[in-house]
């Protein structure tokens, strides 16, 4: 069997006409960005010390705070599982020793220039190419549960990755039972 209907052409411009009818109450919609922004700023306040600290102390709690703050902004979740955050942070750091410095710089840049997450990638691609790969790494870690690329790619999370969490009111992660035989015949509501 071919997977998922053969070759899927990736659209470079996904529809912006996206408004699902129903949502989980705890998934942020309107105002979430502001919340995430506040959270980022709080995180940066905690991380502030690192901006002036010697390089040798870069891999300390403040940089984890910066990671968490940037993660909230990028994922759109105002609260993230601290245990998973620690595992992802460690994996990203192991994958790329410069990650710590990068995520701290990214947090600072976002804060200073007040960048909206939807324009972030274009901004980085245009003027901060040294940081341009970071958002995808971070979001891939949270949403796909995967850190690293090619042969070095590792799965850090699966049933708790955010892709599965975002749809968890409607779907179960593949390889986990949906429910009783035939429970899929009803309309998803």
């Amino acid at each position: 069997m071919g997977r998922n209907g053969a070759v899927i052409h990736v659209s470079s411009s996904p529809s912006t006409n996206s408004s699902p009818e129903s949502r989980e109450p705890d998934v942020p919609v309107s105002g979430a960005y502001d919340l995430a922004r506040r959270s980022l700023l709080l995180g940066l306040a905690a991380a502030g010390v690192v901006l002036t600290a010697p390089q040798a102390f870069a891999d300390t709690t403040p940089s984890r705070d910066a990671f968490l703050a940037v993660s909230k902004l990028l994922t759109g979740f105002t609260s993230l599982d601290p245990g998973l955050a620690a595992r992802l942070y460690d994996a990203l750091n192991t994958n790329d020793p410069k990650f710590t410095a990068g995520v701290t710089a990214l947090a600072t840049l976002i804060s200073q220039q007040n960048i909206d997450p939807l324009s972030l990638q274009a901004t980085l691609d245009g003027t901060h190419s040294d940081l341009a790969a970071l958002p995808r790494q971070i979001v891939t870690a949270w949403y796909m549960g995967v850190v690293g690329t090619g042969d070095a790619a590792r799965c850090i999370a699966f049933e708790t990755d955010l892709t599965n969490i975002v749809v968890s009111d409607k779907l179960t992660p593949p390889s986990f039972c949906f429910g009783a035989y035939g429970s899929w015949t009803s309309q998803p509501v």
Partner: protein, 483 residues
């Protein structure tokens, strides 16, 4: 006592191993009912009442062989600790069944365990419970088996237990000790419901056959009624009213739901012989009868056994992040087996599916008991319980042909311990030997070990019997009604 309506009982008590049937015997019975209906012009009202009673007493559970056996033609091998006992043909076949039995012969067989030819039955046939059946009930059952059941001229396999248990006359001595051949007497000081419950639990439904522990002579222990007993590979738990060890913490509704469906989400699911009892028999009982059983159990004498907490009071869901599917190769064998074989349905958290179709493992009687027996047996033999239109199915992981995965004794021990540590009674530890014991049908009885000594054993047995008979003569004869 009023004439019984759809009463019921389960001979599953005696069915010591789980039966591997695709179609519930209850369905097979329904088919036989259809056949009987075809003869309705010649079937008396009494026989129809008897048919309801036979559903109630669940004769078919033992007397119809699994996987397409003919109704009531016997041949079902009941593996007892002493060897395999084959059920008899109880169709009205004049050659191989009970076609030549008078009603008196019939009554003697079911109440005293003595066939028309004088041969003794083994107490795999729960005649010690049926001894209490009322005369009208026995008459109705007789009418049904003679008029409503088609004769099947087939001889079931002969039971041949090893020496000395093949000497059936020894059952006479056993009966002298352990058979209380009196009809059920209602207790006028108790409600009609409790009396009805007593008749169902102790006689018709013979719950005691499994749930009352047995002494080393394989007879029910006096004074320990319904306090739990080994049933082959399974364990029939304490169902006295004790709030810790028994069902004292269950509501009346929960008990009725369990008896009716075999499933109380968040608490208990029937497996093994109990699943058969629900499937073949209890699901067809009237609500009044189920209520009576529940009321009687809740009013029974509480007996405290080994449990430190109620069986459904252990464990909580695992935190999502602690499931660590993806840990770097440092998962224990038990954790890996759980993830790979159990978590799809029971979930990594142990919480089961949202719709309750696949049960949670914490606060579940199978994982919180004082014995790991039923947890091990469920893993080895699986579950296949059809009630109404719903089938609860768990694949077997331990049998010769386990299409999902075949687990070794050590694997079953490892995954059992993972489940017990995370979701159930953490004080238990399962060894591969424990699993092997369950796999081979439970521990052999002391009597069987004695029997293995053959001739010296027989002499010893004779001496023991003699002593017991002497003791029996002087022991109090009546069994007080619990509660």
């Amino acid at each position: 006592m009023p004439f019984l309506r759809a009463t019921n009982a389960s001979c599953a008590a005696a069915s010591i191993r789980a039966r591997n049937v695709l179609f519930a015997t209850g369905i097979a019975f329904a088919i036989s009912t259809g056949g009987a209906a075809g003869q309705s012009s010649s079937t008396s009202d009494l026989a129809k009442q008897g048919q309801s009673l036979a559903t109630a007493t669940d004769c078919t559970a033992c007397h119809t062989a699994p996987n397409g056996g003919q109704n009531f033609a016997g041949g079902y091998g009941i593996s007892s600790p002493l060897g395999t006992i084959y059920s008899t043909n109880i169709t009205p076949s004049k050659t191989f069944g009970i076609g030549n039995y008078s009603e008196t012969d019939f009554a003697r067989a079911i109440r005293e365990g003595i066939r028309k030819d004088g041969t003794h039955l083994y107490p795999a046939m729960p005649y010690t419970s049926y001894a209490g059946l009322s005369d009208p009930d026995v008459a109705a059952l007789y009418a049904y088996f003679m008029q409503g059941v088609p004769p099947v001229d087939v001889a079931p396999p002969k039971t041949s237990l090893p020496f000395p248990f093949n000497m059936r006359f020894s059952m006479a001595a056993w009966n002298a000790l352990f058979l209380d051949n009196h009809r059920f007497q209602p207790d006028s000081s108790r409600s009609a419901q409790l009396n009805r419950g007593a008749y169902l639990v102790e006689n018709l439904a013979h719950c005691d056959t499994c749930h009352t522990p047995r002494n080393f002579m394989m007879a029910e222990k006096q004074g320990r009624a319904l306090s739990g007993g080994a049933v082959g590979s399974w364990y029939a738990p304490n169902i006295t009213s004790d709030p810790v060890s028994g069902i004292g913490g269950w509501s009346q509704d929960e008990l009725v739901q369990y008896l009716h469906t075999g499933n109380v989400p968040g608490k208990a699911q029937a497996a093994g012989p109990m699943a058969e009892a629900v499937e073949d028999s209890l699901q067809y009982l009237s609500n009044d009868d189920l209520q009576a059983i529940a009321a009687y159990l809740k009013a029974s004498a509480p007996i405290r056994t080994a449990e430190a907490k109620p069986r459904n009071a252990y464990g909580i869901a695992l935190a999502a992040d602690s499931t660590l599917n993806n840990a770097a190769g440092d998962m224990s064998n038990g954790a890996q087996l759980y993830s790979g074989n159990c978590a799809s349905c029971h979930q990594a958290t142990g919480a089961g599916t949202k719709d309750g179709a696949y049960p949670q493992l914490f606060q579940n009687t199978a994982t919180g008991a004082a014995q790991p027996t039923n947890l091990i047996a469920a893993i080895l033999f699986g579950i296949n319980r059809t009630v109404g239109a719903n089938t609860a199915f768990m694949p077997a992981f331990g049998q010769g042909f386990s299409p999902v995965s075949t687990l070794s004794d050590q694997d079953v021990a490892d995954v059992s311990n993972y489940v017990l540590q995370h979701f159930g009674n953490p004080n238990l530890t399962v060894t591969a030997q424990d699993v092997a014991t369950v796999r081979q049908g439970g521990p052999p009885s002391a009597l069987a070990k004695l029997g293995n000594l053959a001739l010296p054993g027989l002499i010893a047995l004779g001496a023991v019997l003699l002593l017991l008979i002497l003791w029996g003569i002087f022991r109090p004869r009546h069994r007080p009604l619990p509660g």
